[in-house]
């Protein structure tokens, strides 16, 4: 059985939607294909009749400030995102996360759109977008819409997107203001199974010696990704001293039930690492909020 029967490379969103909706069999959008093609090859996903390659649609390749927001096109290779001065300035957590997706060769083809559409609860890029409260632009047969990223997931590997007729156009992120910063870190085994044992992204707004606001996302922390609001509460209005961090760590243990997964890690190890990562990302973001004054 062939992985696909037909491989099309549309040049516009409308053309892509047309291919998806008019295919004689199943159809799927494909970015770098680094997840989807392997899943089909390994029998975890049925073969697809028509693969609609979205990586040459100009709208999906933009990476620019649009109004008061930063737009990252869904088909921009993650390596470009990692190295983009714009992303590094406004959303360093996303740049850090994209620099860790796959390996060096994979990062030349993998896309942030694919990372999110694949809907794995520990995908590095997706977790970083969560902390930055990204808005996702989706195009379908009935037009385009914006959706907060947290409304996009149904279960492990399942998004609310209708991949038979919809594609992700890109992601809108807030521009960074003075006192704001973000950071991403992860722990993974040194080789094999390209998913982290645990990752964590944080966005922070610092005022003097106090965290005015904070967003924290941890993957994998459940069947769908979510913001660790209980943990955030322990830190808002506080200085990240050892006392506040201790309360925040306790909040992780109380509010998040990590799973044990045979190939990756036990829940106990994840709980332990969550403390290490929390200190690391908050330390990084705290420092950055202070150092990286917005010109």
């Amino acid at each position: 059985m062939n992985i696909w029967q037909k491989y099309v490379i549309p040049r516009s969103i409308e053309e892509a939607i047309h291919y998806l909706t008019s295919a004689p069999g199943s159809a799927r959008p494909i970015g770098g294909g680094t997840d989807l093609l392997l899943e089909i090859q390994q029998g975890h996903h049925p073969p697809v009749h028509t693969l609609v390659d979205v990586t040459r649609i100009p709208d999906l390749l933009r990476l620019q400030e649009i109004g008061e927001r930063l737009f990252i096109g869904a088909a921009v290779p993650v390596k470009v995102i990692t190295e983009s001065p714009l992303v590094r300035h406004h959303a360093l957590a996303v740049a850090e996360a994209c620099g860790l997706i796959g390996g060096p060769q994979v990062r030349n083809t993998a896309t942030l759109g694919g990372n999110v559409a694949h809907a794995l609860p520990a995908a590095d890029g997706m977790i970083s977008l969560f902390a930055l409260d990204a808005q996702v632009e989706i195009a379908g047969a009935t037009g385009r819409r914006l959706q907060p990223i947290h409304t996009l997931f149904k279960g492990p590997g399942q998004s609310t997107l209708d991949l038979n007729s919809e594609i992700i156009v890109g992601f809108y992120l807030p521009l960074r203001k003075s006192g704001q910063s973000s950071a991403f870190s992860r722990v993974m085994r040194p080789q094999g199974v390209a998913l982290p044992i645990l990752n964590m992204a944080v966005w922070m707004e610092r005022e003097e010696q106090v965290i005015r606001d904070i967003h924290i996302a941890i993957g994998p922390s459940g069947p769908v990704p979510f913001r660790a609001t209980q943990v955030e509460k322990e830190l808002i209005g506080k200085s990240p001293d050892s006392f506040a961090l201790k309360r925040a760590k306790e909040a992780i243990h109380q509010s998040i039930q990590f799973r044990s997964s045979a190939m990756r890690a036990s829940a106990a190890y994840r709980h332990h690492l969550s403390e290490v990562l929390l200190e690391e990302v908050i330390g990084k973001a705290w420092q950055r909020a202070f150092e990286l004054e917005v010109a």
Partner: protein
């Protein structure tokens, strides 16, 4: 571009327009349609980087890049690299290779060669963006470009050298590798591999690179369950699928129905009513016009299997009421070593310690998956193109299955993309031959990575109980060991491997009283067989962990304890062998100890936090090891070789011995060059062809340098004598006045070209050819005392680790390695073996674990089997210790396995010294370390 069904792409400057094939990946288009087979596919799962090509300036993985997506792209493959840039030579001319290609050759970064195109293309992309990369930059860029020969340190230095040449325009700086202290004119000097140019340019041909007209593609229907009875097998639907040419089952085997290296207990296919013993068991084989059709046909074969209980552990297998995996029971062999009286030894001891250790299965994870092509010839013979470690055994086993005399089968050995012991057994050879026999057409059977992981024999998982007794001064009074070895569903080389595990289980020490018992058990796990280290890796982990514990209990320095008991010349081993020569263990220990003390200010075993990062703790660990060279144990160990002077004045050396990346062609080339006083480039080495090369025996047991090396040495000498007497007669001069120099013979001041000499001999009906069968010194079976082996290699290693006490992550920072190799015949190849063995050892110690649950393989993808990448590369400080063996060629003995053996306990011992937790199981995963640290903190 406008025709949606055509792909237009530019590859290495040439533009092609090709019809689109649904489902085709770029690697397949390049390899099978454009015949650019330099791009390799090793995993097919975007994991290993072997298939890396440059697409529009960026490195991408062509195995998972849709060919249709490459429409309009500009692609550079390994074949096109030398047209981008050439390398300046020291004489001002240009070498027609890119500086990366040339530096990979000169620095010895090329071993089996299968990953090399991917390594070079990835490096090329790095240098395009970063002309002066640091070691860290290189590790980041090559993180996912795996090499199982693990020439990572030399790959790093080769990239740096090429970068310098690209920037300065000057020739490559030479590598820093010392010649042997016993170097001759050629032997012991640094020589490039004869196959290196082909391997860096993509011209090297491995089996899957070969295509024949009219060739069919085969696939194998496998059981998928570990234990049961095959009740039904319906192939009718598969037979009817258009494009399927043949579907065969056990009933269709014309000859013997089982194969096996020692015991023929492995069914070629399981027949109806017969027992399934492991998930990889073959039930049916299909040949079709394409691989896709053959794969589809497998799904149409209907199978019913009545499940049986699964025996998943050797200790379960030995229970009286356990399911019988083979008719004669589950015990393959009970292996015993007896010396002195251990009860008396323990009674004399001041301290007695006992502990049980566990080691898992490991996979060889050679980069080249198994591939066989069978081709019937018009003369009625069967040719097999295959990369095999034992060509003559393949010939025998294929002939028996076909029911024909051996002479009807010819094995034409191809380059092997890594073996490490994993290509000794039959993989697809017999299946391909059966299908070719029936269809009359060439048949290719290529394993995908999943099949490779499930089917070929693994390293034996073991459980090893060690009991030691010692006096307060450290002298060992007794060692008792009990081993359970899991040989899986079939014997393969299980008995031999576990015999080696048993005889080496008390370590390289002289001990008056030794008792060792090993139970080699059949289970329903995938079979276990040969793997670099051959059982000794497992028992070395156990005894060297115990020796460290003993040192602590005795308040002794761990190095002192080993020195106190180390084997020396005159020692008697646990099998009763008196070591008469070539025991360089003490020198290895002393060299490593001195360097370790120098690097640690004299306190290697004291934990040292990193300044500014107190959660990072460093310390050193120490271990020793030994490993036999050659088959031993009374097995006749011989190799044949021949050397011929050809009409063009060059020589050819021939033996069926296998080259799997370890460097045998260089070894044989330099030995012949030394004996014939020729430039090695005048000597061509032909291996692994059962029609053209004499039997060199199996490439296993670190034996080829010694055994085939000696055969070539004697054959070269005999040829030299033949040529000398020919010249003496022809020119009427005394033989002692005849000399050979490069390409010429000097006869009494007159020069005769060797091509002229060859012509003259052939015209007068004499072959300028000598052959020799070398018999290694006789050995005695275990239990009879005397020489069980004709030589041993020895080693000591020290590892410095850094443990992250927050995450449990471990880094190996430095390895000091001393190996007694007799004589370093091929220093460049030796360096590759040392580095590759050490890095494989790091993988075994920290990450590698072939996981089987209830007989089912969990690690059935390369992504799940954690083999080391370049990021694991430590600083390696090698010492070559040379205590020659009088019978070895120029004093050499084996090296291929000893390099790996002490690395694992050196690392686990270092972890103990750093953070105070000792592990009796490998791999020592980061999670286990962290949980152990927490437990330790809780009980403290």
């Amino acid at each position: 571009m406008n025709d949606p069904n055509m792909i237009t792409l530019t590859v290495n400057g040439n533009t092609y327009q090709l019809p689109e094939i649904p489902g085709e990946m770029l690697a397949d288009l390049l390899r099978y349609r454009l015949k650019l087979t330099g791009t390799k596919v090793a995993c097919g799962e975007a994991e290993c980087g072997a298939c890396t090509v440059i697409l529009n300036g960026e490195p991408v993985l062509s195995c998972s890049y849709p060919a249709a997506k490459a429409n309009g792209a500009n692609i550079l493959t390994i074949e096109g690299l030398s047209s981008v840039q050439t390398t300046p030579a020291s004489d001002g001319s240009q070498i027609p290779l890119h500086p990366l290609q040339q530096s990979f050759i000169e620095y010895g970064a090329v071993q089996c060669g299968f990953c090399i195109p991917g390594q070079i293309m990835t490096s090329y992309a790095l240098l395009q963006r970063n002309p002066d990369p640091s070691e860290e930059d290189i590790k980041v860029a090559l993180k996912d470009t795996l090499c199982r020969c693990a020439g990572y340190p030399t790959i790093i230095s080769a990239i740096k050298a090429a970068a310098r040449t690209l920037q300065t325009g000057r020739p490559l700086p030479p590598p820093q590798i010392d010649p042997s202290s016993h170097a001759g004119r050629v032997v012991g000097t640094v020589q490039p591999r004869p196959d290196a140019v082909a391997k860096v340019t993509g011209k090297a041909i491995y089996t899957d690179d070969i295509q024949f007209e009219n060739m069919l593609h085969a696939r194998v229907k496998r059981a998928g369950v570990p234990s049961g009875i095959l009740r039904k097998l319906d192939i009718e639907k598969a037979q009817k699928l258009p494009g399927v040419v043949a579907v065969l089952t056990a009933e269709d085997i014309p000859g013997e129905k089982y194969h096996g290296l020692v015991i023929p207990d492995w069914p070629i296919m399981v027949g109806i009513g017969e027992q399934i013993r492991t998930v990889g068991d073959a039930l049916a084989i299909v040949a079709a016009e394409s691989r896709q059709i053959a794969t589809h046909a497998l799904d149409l074969i209907e199978v019913e299997i009545e499940p049986l209980p699964v025996i998943d552990h050797p200790v379960k297998a030995i229970q009286e009421n356990a399911l019988r995996i083979h008719n004669n029971g589950n015990l393959l062999k009970h292996i015993k070593v007896r010396k002195g009286d251990v009860e008396q030894g323990f009674a004399q001891a001041d301290v007695v310690l006992e502990h049980t250790y566990h080691t898992p299965m490991h996979d060889h994870a050679f980069m080249e998956p198994e591939c066989s092509i069978a081709r019937p010839t018009p003369e009625g013979r069967m040719e097999l193109y295959v990369g095999s470690q034992i060509p003559y055994s393949d010939r025998n086993q294929v002939a028996r299955a076909l029911g024909v005399p051996e002479e009807k089968v010819r094995i034409i050995g191809q380059l092997i993309g890594g073996g490490f012991g994993g290509k000794e057994d039959i993989a697809g050879q017999i299946h391909a031959a059966l299908l070719a026999n029936v269809t009359g057409r060439p048949v290719k059977l290529l394993f995908d990575r999943q099949e490779s992981l499930v089917v070929h024999p693994k390293r034996h998982a073991t459980q090893i109980r060690v009991k030691v007794g010692a006096k307060m001064d450290g002298s060992l009074t007794a060692v008792e060991t009990e081993l359970f070895g899991d040989t899986g569903a079939y014997a393969s080389l299980g008995e031999k491997v576990l015999t080696r595990a048993t005889t080496h289980s008390s370590g390289p020490y002289e001990i008056p009283n030794v008792k060792a018992d090993c139970y080699a058990m059949y289970t329903n796990n995938p079979p276990a067989g040969a793997f670099r280290g051959f059982g000794v890796m497992q028992s070395a982990f156990a005894i060297e962990s115990m020796m460290d514990t003993l040192a602590e209990v005795l308040h002794m320095d761990p190095v002192e304890l080993r020195k106190k008991n180390a084997l020396r010349v005159g020692s008697v081993t646990n099998t009763g062998q008196v070591l008469r020569e070539s025991v360089g263990l003490m020198e290895c220990i002393e060299k490593v100890e001195a360097e370790m003390n120098r690097l640690s200010d004299g306190s290697p075993f004291t934990p040292k936090p990193v300044e500014g990062a107190p959660h990072l703790i460093r310390a050193w660990g120490f271990a020793v090891g030994y490993k036999n060279t050659g088959l031993g144990g009374g097995a006749p160990d011989k190799a044949g070789a021949e050397v011929e002077l050809r009409r063009d004045g060059t020589f050819q050396v021939r033996s069926s011995s296998a080259e799997l990346g370890q460097g045998l062609p260089t070894v044989l080339q330099v030995i012949a060059a030394e004996e014939l006083n020729q430039n090695p480039r005048q000597i061509d080495v032909l291996l692994m062809d059962t029609d053209l090369t004499p039997d060199g025996g199996p490439t296993t047991a670190s034996r080829q340098t010694f055994v085939t090396g000696n055969a070539v040495r004697h054959a070269a000498r005999a040829l030299r004598q033949l040529l000398t007497s020919e010249l003496a007669e022809r020119y009427d001069v005394p033989p002692q006045e005849i000399r050979f120099i490069e390409g010429l013979a000097q006869v009494n001041g007159k020069q005769v070209s060797l091509s002229h000499l060859a012509e003259q001999m052939l015209e007068s009906g004499r072959q300028p050819l000598a052959s020799y069968t070398y018999w290694a010194p006789a050995t005695r079976p275990l239990g009879q005392g005397g020489d069980m082996h004709f030589a041993f290699s020895f080693a000591a290693q020290a590892a410095e680790v850094e443990v992250n006490t927050l995450t449990g992550e471990v880094k190996v920072l430095r390895l000091i390695i001393a190996n007694d190799v007799g004589t370093a015949i091929n220093p460049l190849g030796l360096r590759g073996q040392i580095e590759g063995g050490a890095i494989m050892g790091i993988g075994h110690a920290l990450t590698e674990n072939f996981i089987v649950e209830q007989g089912r393989v969990i690690t059935d993808r390369l992504a799940r089997y954690r083999m080391p990448s370049i990021t694991f590369t430590p600083e390696i400080i090698p010492f070559v210790v040379e205590h020659p063996v009088s019978e070895g060629p120029f004093g050499a003995k084996g090296v291929g396995e000893i390099v790996l053996i002490p690395t694992i306990p050196a690392i686990t011992n270092a972890i103990y010294h750093a953070v105070g937790v000792r592990f009796d199981r490998i791999p020592v995963d980061q999670e286990k370390i962290l949980l152990a640290l927490k437990e330790k903190a809780a009980t403290a």
